[in-house]
């Protein structure tokens, strides 16, 4: 047994009114990858903020013992000096600056008042090599993809001489290939003796990299599993997270009659709005029937969101060609309003960015896409609006003290429910759900799946875009596979397996150019 690098003892952190952490204990051995898992709001991020000094010593109870000594960090700088470096979920890079400038931001190379640019870029290149990036450190951040940006963050951490690296949801915005590369890099670092803590929702990643798994639930550490002595699989971890066995991650849909074709898309081609020669969606054909849940699987960047948004009143892209038919009628939807009027709904993947008005209450968000439904001649019927919001809150089991609560104060799962409520209130026939369960915890996911099933039962058509294979397979009646802007396969749910879907994608990659 190697030595304990970090021990957090009886950590208790209270915010006014809530106990975010309650007697948490965490032990991390030197040279291991330790995974922290738990539902949203369980306290994982709070714990890491305590460790890195974001919540300074004195604002919490308990001890942090690092490398044999008790630490009292006042700021992030203090913890970084000791080699504890945290990489946050939201990338903290300045897009208009170069990789090198970003890497040494606040930690500039050179003399006190003059930056030594040669040293900056020289050092930066060295660290970039360590994370396997071939880009020059003089390239601007905005010119590289998110996957590479994540690697820059890691290189930045290395430049701070990290001994304990904390990665908070490092793969949440990465596609499968980039995620895998990142995890492999972590394993590589482990070989070199680095200690790491990873926080993630993606349990397959936990199983892939972790040596030990600590489960956090409701502000306490529930258990720590050792992956080398125990048989660990995803179901076992979920059981720890939710405190019970979830027998079926995907609720069954029974007695749903699949009817006529509700929406049909033919030869749909979309070009990038800024780079007019770039085809983002290329000759896509698909349809969805009444009561049917159709899954569109594709990696990030495959053009799924672009496809959905271009269908939804041409809210994305330029030079859109192809035909869109709803209930057998060819339609030309020129803006989101016309799409909504045609009974189409697009539930965005980016609920904070373009889905919800976070600074406004649930009530306002619920009615926003259908103000006509709560007003007379443009004057809002406040009673009706309130009642509608309460009705959907109850129907979707949104957890909130009141519908006057600002959406920004809700957890991810509850925000997603408000977003769904908004679109359900437009009484659509066809719903396009873009990554409906992104970044929400296991329990809330299950509830979202139940809502999807209810929608199908009501005879609505659901198009579910997802990059989680189990979800697509578990929820869909039919699956389309999208890669590099094209649909490269279609299969019934019964035929679909993770293997043959991935095979579909691998076969098509790069093949499009040659053929």
């Amino acid at each position: 047994m190697s030595k304990i690098l970090l021990e957090m003892k009886n950590i208790t952190k209270t915010f006014p009114g809530v106990k975010a952490l309650d007697n948490v204990n965490l032990q991390v051995e030197e040279g291991e990858i330790h995974a922290l898992v738990g539902e949203n709001g369980a306290g994982k991020s709070t714990l890491m903020n305590v460790l890195s000094g974001i919540y300074p010593y004195g604002t919490y109870e308990g001890d942090i013992v690092y490398d044999g000594e008790v630490c009292q960090f006042q700021t992030i700088k203090d913890s970084e000096k000791k080699g504890i470096v945290i990489i946050h979920q939201e990338l903290a890079l300045v897009p208009q600056m170069s990789i090198g400038e970003n890497m040494f931001l606040g930690n500039e190379r050179g003399r006190k008042n003059a930056i030594n640019w040669n040293e900056t870029y020289g050092e930066a290149d060295k660290y970039l090599k360590m994370v396997g990036l071939s880009e020059s450190s003089r390239v601007l951040i905005k010119d590289i993809g998110t996957g590479k940006q994540q690697l820059v963050e890691i290189a930045k951490a290395l430049a701070k001489h990290a001994k304990l690296l904390i990665l908070d949801e490092p793969t949440s915005s990465l596609n499968e290939t980039d995620s895998r590369a990142l995890l492999d890099l972590m394993l590589e670092f482990k070989k070199q003796g680095m200690t790491m803590i990873i926080i993630t929702h993606k349990l397959n990643e936990v199983v892939y990299v972790a040596d030990k798994i600590t489960v956090v639930r409701d502000g306490s550490t529930v258990e720590t599993m050792d992956c080398h002595t125990m048989e660990i699989d995803e179901d076992r971890i979920i059981k720890g997270m939710v405190g019970r066995e979830i027998t079926d991650r995907f609720p069954k849909r029974s007695d749903v009659k699949i009817g006529d074709v509700n929406m049909e898309v033919k030869d749909w081609t979309v070009f990038h709005p800024l780079y007019a020669e770039r085809k983002v969606v290329d000759g896509v054909n698909f349809n969805v029937r009444q009561g049917e849940v159709v899954g569109i699987y594709g990696l990030m960047g495959a053009g799924r969101t672009e496809l959905a948004m271009s269908i939804f009143g041409k809210s994305y892209g330029s030079d859109i060609t192809g035909t869109l038919s709803i209930k057998g009628q060819e339609v030309n939807l020129k803006n989101p309003r016309e799409a909504i009027d045609a009974k189409l709904a697009y539930v965005t993947e980016d609920r904070k960015g373009n889905g919800l008005v976070l600074s406004n209450p649930i009530r306002v968000n619920t009615s926003l896409a259908n103000m006509k439904g709560v007003s007379n001649n443009g004057v809002i019927d406040a009673d009706k609006e309130y009642q509608i919001a309460v009705e959907y809150k109850d129907k979707l089991k949104t957890k909130t003290p009141s519908v006057e609560q600002n959406v920004g104060n809700l957890s991810g799962g509850n925000q997603q429910k408000v977003l769904l409520a908004k679109w359900m209130f437009t009484s659509p026939d066809i719903l396009i759900l873009d990554e409906p369960t992104r970044g929400i915890d296991v329990g809330a996911k299950y509830e979202i799946y139940c809502i999807i099933n209810d929608l199908a039962k009501e005879g609505k058509s659901v198009v579910m875009i997802s990059s989680e294979l189990p979800e697509v397979i578990g929820m869909s009646d039919r699956i389309y596979i999208m890669n590099e802007g094209k649909f490269v396969g279609e299969m019934k749910a019964e035929e679909a397996t993770q293997e043959n879907i991935m095979a579909c994608i691998l076969q098509s990659t790069g093949g499009g150019e040659a053929g």
Partner: protein, 391 residues
């Protein structure tokens, strides 16, 4: 209980500050501040702020956007009005209509540039700020040897936008004015109680009976005091009617209509609003068109008050309007702010101005004080927001 108490204080902080500042100046001026004439001055001197700040509020709601050109446009439009009435000898009615038309045209151009060409508002309006001051001054110099056109010969125009209704001599109680005050307070009481009764009937969360009574008593006291003082100073200033009508209309729009709702949601998240089927460009266009129309009304009020169009008219008006909004709790980032708050903010600045003039504070120091008040208001807002967030 004490928490609830604090909440009420915090919500009405600016109102309380306003009362305290008023009392402070009343003491400092040995009661001069409390004389009827000063109540009249408070309204006539600040009417332009209320009107312009209403327009500015609508712009700011859409995301902290401002209009820097409104002050200069007042000067330009005043010059147009002067030429129409004094040089071309057109009737006041036609002149008013033509000035409004010029305002609408400018509003359309500005709205188009900002909403459809995507020029950042402060740059588009900075152009207007520079150009209209010059253009207005040039028009005035070309048409008058003194650089100023007098409206003294336009009694109709003056009576629509300045002066008093049923004017009576100073120190004599103006019955119409006082009765209007009584009617207004009765209306406020009825509305307050009806609103609460309606909420209770439908089982919604409603303010306690005591708080409604307290609120009504305070409102009635304030209205009656104002009505009495105005009645003693000769009657209702005509501009007060304009200001009240505009404030009421925009209170209604912002709080009760779909259109008003969209201003707030665009400020909160423009993209989410667009994807919810709202024509966000049209709303932005409307914000600036509306601003130009209210600027035209401001021009009528201001030229009528000074009985002239001159090249310094409207100087720094845009800043006064922005300051009134910010002090009144309108977010500089958009998405939040109420017409009532803006009214309090504008009144507070007006009271400070008036008080400092009466106490003989040096003009330069007046500017310093106003700057500090503005900063303090924003700092207070940020701290209040933080406190709320950690709750």
């Amino acid at each position: 209980m004490s928490n609830k108490y604090l909440d009420v204080l915090k919500k009405n902080a600016m109102l309380i500050v306003l009362v305290l500042v008023f009392i402070f100046f009343t003491i400092m001026t040995k009661g001069q501040m409390f004389e009827p004439m000063q109540f009249n001055a408070l309204i006539t001197q600040n009417a332009y702020v209320f009107v312009l700040a209403t327009g500015m509020l609508m712009c700011m709601l859409t995301g902290g956007n401002i209009d820097l050109s409104c002050g200069s446009f007042v000067c330009f439009l005043g010059a147009i009005g002067g030429i129409l009435m004094c040089v071309k000898n057109l009737s006041p009615g036609v002149s008013i209509a033509l000035m409004l038309l010029v305002g609408v045209i400018y509003g359309c151009v500005l709205g188009f540039l900002i909403a459809y060409v995507n020029i950042p508002p402060w740059i588009a309006t900075l152009a207007g700020y520079l150009a209209f001051r010059g253009w207005g001054t040039a028009l005035l110099s070309a048409n008058s040897s003194t650089g100023s056109l007098s409206f003294a010969t336009q009694p109709t125009f003056l009576s629509i936008f300045s002066g008093k209704i049923f004017s009576t001599p100073m120190g004599q109680l103006n019955v119409v004015c006082f009765v209007t005050g009584i009617v207004a307070s009765a209306l406020v009481v009825v509305v307050n109680f009806l609103t609460r009764a309606n909420k209770v009937k439908k089982g919604y969360e409603a303010d306690s009976l005591i708080s409604v009574i307290v609120k009504s008593v305070l409102a009635v006291a304030a209205i009656l005091l104002f009505a009495y003082k105005l009645a003693m100073s000769g009657g209702i200033p005509t501009v007060l009617i304009w200001v009240v009508v505009i404030v009421l209309i925009y209170s209604f729009i912002t709080s009760k209509t779909n259109l008003g709702r969209y201003f707030y949601t665009i400020g909160g998240n423009a993209e989410a609003t667009r994807l919810s089927g709202v024509d966000t460009k049209k709303i932005m266009f409307f914000a600036y068109l509306n601003m130009a129309v209210l600027t035209a009304i401001t021009t009528y009020i201001v030229t009528a008050r000074f009985q002239a169009a001159n090249s310094t008219a409207g100087t720094n008006y845009e800043m006064d309007a922005i300051a009134a909004c910010v002090v009144g709790g309108v977010s500089a980032y958009g998405g939040s702010g109420k017409v009532f708050g803006m009214v309090i903010g504008a009144t507070l600045i007006g009271v400070i101005n008036l008080g400092m003039s009466l106490t003989g504070v040096d003009a330069n120091w007046q500017k310093i004080v106003k700057g500090v008040v503005l900063l303090a208001a924003v700092v207070f807002d940020i701290f209040a927001a933080k406190k709320n967030a950690t709750k």
